[in-house]
């Protein structure tokens, strides 16, 4: 049973399904109730589930995470919304010092089934602090799981799988893809939460991306196809732990790998992925792994974000560079 919907709607129906299924699932965050969230992801949930399960919180991110921790001690499964990427830092201490370590500190006795939803990334012409890509800062924190959806189908299912996980999941939502529609198969889950996926197969080079850049890579591959170049595109889906099986298998075939993300380059996920590919596929590589990323500067004013963010030209240029070796 497939249905066409936007990613916002897909997340909304996913949340709704999870709340229907388990009365311990609660949603909390700034403006998630009456307004339905600034992106309307939680639209209508408060009306249907009540203010006890869909809570407009005071404006305090550290408190949102800190109280969510307390709720898990009573068996609740909080799904918290951080309004924008740049506002997660007041909660950073609670996430990395508390949420991420509780299970470990308790010798496996205390699960932390918290989902931290973060609309992230740029490309929507927003003001400062509304376009950051902080995923690596969570991916390098042991104890957290970090995932990112790239299309409505995955959004719908991954949010439900994240809520079912007994581990804390940082759920990165590509806000520039929120309003794009796609087919959602509401009857099948297809893939587990922590699995990457080949979204386009090809023989000449492998593009590796997640979240907002998956679509950009697919567009790049379509453009390359017109020039007779056959690019494979892999959606990582899970950023921590990484699922590099399909990546390594692909690079062994194509001999060329290009990692694409919006986040700044230094110590970004591309660094880890390039290093792992080099360790595992050294003899198959025909060129060094290329990275196409944001530059190492705070996110710039929006009128130059198109130049800051990886686009088709920069991605195809990297493919050419790799193939020129």
């Amino acid at each position: 049973m497939t249905e066409k919907m936007t990613m916002v709607k897909a997340l909304n129906t996913g949340l709704r399904a999870a709340m229907d299924k388990d009365p311990k699932v609660i949603v909390m965050g700034e403006d998630v109730g009456r307004l339905g969230g600034v992106f309307r992801v939680t639209e209508g949930l408060q009306k249907d589930f009540g203010e006890g399960r869909v809570m407009d919180t005071p404006l305090a991110e550290s408190a949102i995470l800190g109280t969510a921790i307390g709720m898990t001690f009573r068996g609740f499964r909080p799904v918290v919304e951080i309004q924008f990427d740049g506002f997660v830092y007041p909660a950073y201490d609670q996430i990395v010092s508390q949420v991420a370590r509780m299970h470990f500190r308790s010798g496996g006795r205390v699960p932390m089934p918290i989902v931290i939803r973060i609309p992230f990334g740029g490309g929507i012409g927003a003001v400062e602090h509304h376009s950051d890509s902080p995923e690596a800062q969570f991916a390098l924190t042991s104890g957290l799981k970090v995932v990112s959806c790239a299309d409505p189908h995955d959004a719908h299912w991954m949010i439900q799988q994240a809520i079912e996980s007994d581990d804390p999941v940082v759920f990165m939502e590509p806000k520039r893809r929120y309003w794009e529609s796609g087919q959602v198969d509401t009857a099948s889950t297809e893939l587990p939460l922590l699995a990457s996926r080949v979204v386009r197969s090809g023989a000449d080079a492998t593009l590796i991306a997640y979240g907002p850049m998956v679509k950009t890579c697919l567009e790049s591959a379509a453009a390359a196809a017109e020039e007779g170049l056959d690019l494979e595109v892999i959606d990582l889906r899970t950023l921590s732990p990484l699922d590099l099986g399909p990546v390594l298998e692909s690079v062994r075939r194509t001999g060329h790998a290009v990692v694409v993300h919006e986040a700044q380059r230094t110590l970004g996920l591309g660094a880890e992925i390039a290093s792992r590919i080099t360790e595992e596929c050294f003899y198959s590589l025909e060129a060094p792994v290329q990275r196409v990323t944001g530059y190492d500067m705070p996110y710039p004013p929006s009128r130059v974000e198109e130049e800051f963010l990886p686009g088709l030209d920069r991605i195809l240029d990297a493919v050419d560079r790799a193939r020129a070796y």
């Binding site: 230094t266 530059y295 500067m297 710039p300 004013p301």
Partner: protein, 372 residues
Amino acid sequence: MSDPSVHAVADSPLVQLLTPEGVRTTSPEHAYDGSLADIQDLFRDLVMTRRLDTEAFALQRHGELGLWPPALGQEAAQVGSARALRPQDFAFPTYRDHGVVLCRGEDPVHLLSIFRGSSLGGWDPADHNVALPNIIIGAQTLHATGYAMALTIEGLVGTGDPERDAASIAYLGDGATSQGDFNEALDWAAVHQAPVVFFCQNNHYAISVPLERQTRVPIVQRADGFGLPGVRVDGNDVLACHAVTTAALQRARDGQGPTLIEAVTYRMGPHTTSDDPTRYREAAEADGWRAKDPIERVRLYLAAEGVSQDWFDGVQAEADALGVHLREACQNIPEPDLAALFDHVHVDTTPETEQQKAEYVAWRDSLEGSVA
């Protein structure tokens, strides 16, 4: 709120010196002692602030700005407090405090530039002693506290020299009072008796979330628990805002420590141009506040005092000129240059930054070459 566990925030007396009908009143502890000419100056500032705001709103609707957070209805709080500052005082505004930035003498085109997506602020805070507007809720309350602590260390407090003694002021909204940063700022300011004034514009909403969801007590009462005085003022009354802020700043400069001011006002417009307030509040609520308009009451007062229509027309003409200027200036805001931005990542640029800049420039030049 339909949730019975959440109660309306209790009321607490307000300092008011000018009624919505334009009649001067008195308050036991606060008085406005400016002249009629001073009130005319405040009126001009109010009108200019509103013009900047409505012009920017219109520019956003015409696609010239990406976003605008309107200050409509909050002009008296911003102008009254900012005009209480001396040049040597220092203001830390938020993204909505356009009137503060304007009154400090900073070019309002900078504000357009931020919301156009052309800059992240870009001015030197030292030029007019006004920091770049802060978007992260509550963070600037600590900056203002630190600034005030520095003033104390430098001996610029309590010398008795009005040209020397200085204070800082932090602007914040009602939502910001829930943040840890704000509570930490109150604590530090009180512990250090820092010369800082916390000026909270309680406009009753943090985006969609009403005041009742942030606090159970009037914001002014927060001061009690931290050990600093609090004053609650009619935020739509420019004379009262000016009077209470003047007194609080003087206390601070005299070395008597911080004050929390709660200016009770209302956000007449949406949170930003992207927001739809009909989803979370009744139109009737805003109508009640429209009758308390911060500009109209000053107009009524001045007219009753015999200020001529010519003078009002003159202010109107000035506002119109500001509008024309902003429209033109907005279109002439230079496009940012990503290459130049690499130069501002650090003071001492790094080899890595230089290398990425060179890479970007080479890439950009290659595109230009391919087009030609």
